[in-house]
Symmetry: C2
Subunit: 233 residues, 2 copies
């Protein structure tokens, strides 16, 4: 019998936003896997730190942050091979994922490599999307409203084209694109309805009107463009 | 000192997908509030049933399911007034919300009424969106992909216009609109990439290719139109 791979969403950062199912799976795991940006600590491991058994084996996937895809793909190839060895030996593997595994999560790269050959269960987690809405007190969508989720690195022409196609916009992966995104939203008359959130639910969380956001943003940051509260009265 | 209103997301249905924070807040609550469709049991209460203290007071908001908005608004007016009485007396109130409170959640109607006057904390939950993706093994979005979330009751012309505006589509609140939505997706050449999910993570969960979906769907159902797994390899 081969083992099962669990892709476990950990939520946005606050360890209390881990689900009871994720906590149970991690707490009884014998093999844990997680990505870490090369040279950095793993946020996923930090969120789950108080749950990981002291004697669990840990498979760390060091993922280089480069514009080229090949180095990251090679890191996931290597990680998938190490996970496959454990599964072949009949051991379950719990893979830790920031946020939700299937919402811009790196677990998708392991899923693509391993789901054709092994039993895989994905445990959904609280996504950064609703966490940013919660901490900023901004309802996302109600009734028949439409929401669009856009990655910040999109080219400007595509951003502009999509900005007016929904009632609510969430722009993820803001990072170094913040000045450009702010300029586009200002030009399109949407900046006054926009809030900026970084590291939602962590101690270092920042929430600001977009106009007051810093010039440089971390990768884990988001801009929400929502309606006011009135439409829900 | 007035009390604090907590809007607590419970996730899609499996009680194990409740976060540790939600479990702590519910387990120590003295006053619990939740909506129930008039004449039905409350799904929110059912998800949290094993956590609710036996001596907690319960405020039930019976919400009529009518096309007109006024009867539901009146139910939230009454519920908000009862919650306000508890908050004025210095009692915290924990409001139970299916999924995430700010993602098509009825908590938004209480938030609009009470957040201007009282301390409100929103605790995000696992949304049906990522839960449906997890149980169907369908990654939602990666890299620079765009996702649009559409409510099923949208008029056909608007649906058609928006269908091609994103890499991934999630159509919520499918319910009685299923035959119409299926016909539109077939006409637009998207049906083969579409899966149908109802009551994700509950014992009665149903997952089917859209072509095999039943003619009548419950309110808690979704259609996901995603790419295949290949783009993530």
């Amino acid at each position: 019998m081969t083992g099962t791979l669990y892709g476990v969403g950990l939520g946005p950062g606050d360890p209390e936003l881990v689900t009871r199912k994720a906590a149970r799976l991690i707490g009884s795991a014998r093999v844990i896997a997680y990505p870490a940006l090369a040279g950095s600590d793993s946020l996923a491991r930090a969120i789950a730190a108080d749950l990981i058994p002291a004697d669990a084996r840990e498979i760390v996937m060091e993922v280089p942050m480069t514009p080229a895809r090949e180095p990251a793909q090679a890191a996931y190839d290597t990680g998938a091979a190490r996970i496959a060895s454990e599964l072949d030996a009949g051991h379950d593997v719990v893979c830790l994922c920031e946020g939700d595994p299937f919402f811009y999560g790196s677990f998708m790269y392991l899923h693509a490599r391993l789901a054709p050959r092994y039993a895989v269960e994905v445990v959904p987690g609280v996504s950064s999307l609703t966490a940013c809405a919660a901490v900023s007190g901004r309802p996302l969508v109600a009734r028949n409203e439409v929401m669009t989720v856009l990655p910040g690195p999109l080219p400007e022409a595509e951003l502009r084209r999509r900005l007016h196609a929904a009632d609510t916009l969430a722009i993820l992966k803001v990072g170094r694109h913040l000045p450009r995104l702010r300029a586009v939203l200002e030009a399109e008359g949407l900046a006054e309805r926009a809030v900026y959130v970084e590291r939602a639910t962590l101690a270092e969380e920042v929430r600001l009107p977009l106009r007051d956001a810093p010039e440089t943003a971390p990768y884990f940051s988001m801009i929400l463009v929502t309606k006011g509260a009135d439409p829900w009265l």
